[in-house]
Symmetry: C2
Subunit: 112 residues, 2 copies
């Protein structure tokens, strides 16, 4: 599951792949359709799709000679959870600092 997060962020780190995710948020699409707006060779694009699929963000199946790709519901959850978790701890800490500052006028948060 830690490896899940790994490949998730990895997959989302590339602009082409994020664009594909955004496109797919509107609904499933064929490889060709997804490829069209991207100025790169199909094989190159296909590898991006593979990364997305390996990360679990996307799934696809082939009907005839057309492969249709769609988002996998819930796939973003892991990433969102991680981010939320960080922010939670963090915010709580900032609250504490804030409280502290109100007491001792710490206007230059020199740490540790």
């Amino acid at each position: 599951m830690a490896n899940q997060i790994e490949s998730l962020f990895q997959a989302l780190a590339d602009p082409t792949r994020r664009a594909v995710v955004e496109h797919l948020a509107q609904g499933p699409a064929s490889v060709g359709t997804l490829h069209a707006p991207h100025a790169m060779a199909l094989p190159t694009f296909l590898r991006h799709l593979k990364v997305l699929e390996d990360s679990g963000l996307v799934q696809s199946r082939k009907a005839g000679r057309v492969r249709t790709v769609q988002l996998r519901p819930g796939a973003l959850a892991a990433a969102e959870d991680w981010l939320a978790a960080q922010r939670t701890v963090w915010d709580r800490r900032l609250d504490r600092l804030q409280t502290l500052a109100e007491h001792i006028e710490l206007n230059d948060p020199t740490p540790e």
Copy 2:
């Protein structure tokens, strides 16, 4: 600020860097402290810190010979927002499909 998202996900794509973020969520720390749990040479580790700092996730300043690093509040927001946005469109779509399915008995969208 699309480039913001870019470097954000990029920064979070590496396990060492995510670990540093998790560590820093507990509070600011010196370079040495942050480095300790990681089995890699300091210079290597320093470059991870640089990536984090360049992405805006982290900031640091030097007092004497010690550099202290801390999280930048709100830095994760862009990433969270992007994820939330995708999920929103997506979920709405799935709702529509659900509705559709109730009408026409589309009971197996199972791919793979």
